[in-house]
């Protein structure tokens, strides 16, 4: 199945070269959860702070569905 992935800020460096803006489609096995998606994208989970699926904060165990929109955000703490 396909999901739309949006990588923000420093996580954009993990996007495919043809998608430098960090927005691309990833193909993953049916029934995959967020953790599995991250493994496919080869992103270290420690680099991800906030996870979003279809505009709602999600957990690593959240199971994804076809055409879900996944957003991954790094920790930011500046002031």
């Amino acid at each position: 199945m396909n999901v739309e992935v949006r990588l923000y800020a420093t996580l954009r460096e993990h996007a495919p070269p043809e998608s430098p803006a960090g927005v691309f489609t990833a193909t993953i096995p049916d029934g995959s959860d967020l953790a599995a998606l991250l493994a496919v994208l080869a992103i270290d989970p420690a680099k991800v702070h906030l996870r979003m699926v279809n505009g709602v904060s999600a957990e690593w165990e959240t199971v994804l569905n076809e055409n879900d929109r996944v957003g991954l955000f790094p920790p930011i703490g500046g002031g």
Partner: protein
């Protein structure tokens, strides 16, 4: 030229249904009733750096009647690219002290209490008590955890923001709301986020601070939709604003 009205004078004018000249341009949005609420409100700002400098400036111009500012740091040259209160004249000066001088120069109606110290578990309760709302303008996770714990204890809402590079995130954390607290409780390798690599350019704190102050205004005046249970994330480089349900 006539000097602007004093706080007492503004309060009596507002109570009589008239908008003082100082706040006349607020009439069409905040209105007389809202302005009266702002002038009677007390807001605590924790941190007077990148976010805090802009937040304090806007709160003073809006006519928040009572401000508490807490910051133990002093200005240095690396602050000059973005921190509104940092200038050649304030180098080496404590940030909370500089805030008091700036507020007095803008709006003497505002009663400001400045505390040149870090927020700690020991002093948080005493420094924050009595505030209607607290603005989180801190720059690290450990201090934010102290602030959110104290605010929960005191049952005071917190307007949270954090920035890194051209990105930022804002939320209104009500005393009963656990979502942002849980986000900040997640174990992290460092006490800071990716701003350690990206830095903080001038525009990001200005945008985040304006959004924070708007949350303060909405909360105090009881108008509009607040960011409770939601997190507004922005990326100025991509012209992107995402509203995330927490």
């Amino acid at each position: 030229m006539a000097k602007p009205d004093s706080a007492e004078c503004s309060l009596s004018q507002l109570s009589a249904g008239r908008m003082p000249l100082r706040y006349l341009r607020n009439a069409g949005t905040i209105g007389v009733a809202g302005q009266l609420k702002l002038l009677q409100a007390k807001v605590a700002v924790v941190g007077a750096g990148g976010l805090g400098g802009h937040v304090i400036e806007l709160l003073a111009r809006l006519g928040i009647g009572n401000l508490t500012v807490i910051d133990g740091d002093c200005f240095d040259e690396t602050n000059l690219n973005r921190q509104l209160l940092a200038s050649m004249g304030t180098m080496g000066e404590n940030k909370a002290t500089a805030a008091a001088a700036r507020v007095a120069a803008i709006n003497p109606e505002v009663r400001i209490s400045s505390f040149p110290c870090r927020l700690t578990e020991e002093n948080a309760g005493e420094l924050l008590a009595g505030a209607d709302v607290i603005v989180d303008a801190l720059d690290n996770y450990s201090s934010r955890r102290i602030l959110l714990a104290a605010a929960r204890q005191l049952a005071i809402p917190v307007v949270y923001a954090a920035i890194a590079g051209f990105t930022g995130q804002i939320s209104l954390v009500l005393p009963t709301d656990q979502s942002v607290r849980q986000l900040l409780q997640q174990p992290l390798a460092e006490d800071r986020g990716v701003e350690a690599a990206l830095g903080n350019p001038a525009t990001t704190p200005a945008v985040a601070a304006a959004l924070q102050v708007q949350e303060v205004v909405k909360w105090i005046t009881g108008t509009g939709q607040v960011l409770s249970g939601k997190l507004l994330y922005f990326d100025l480089e991509r012209c992107l604003f995402e509203l995330i349900e927490l």
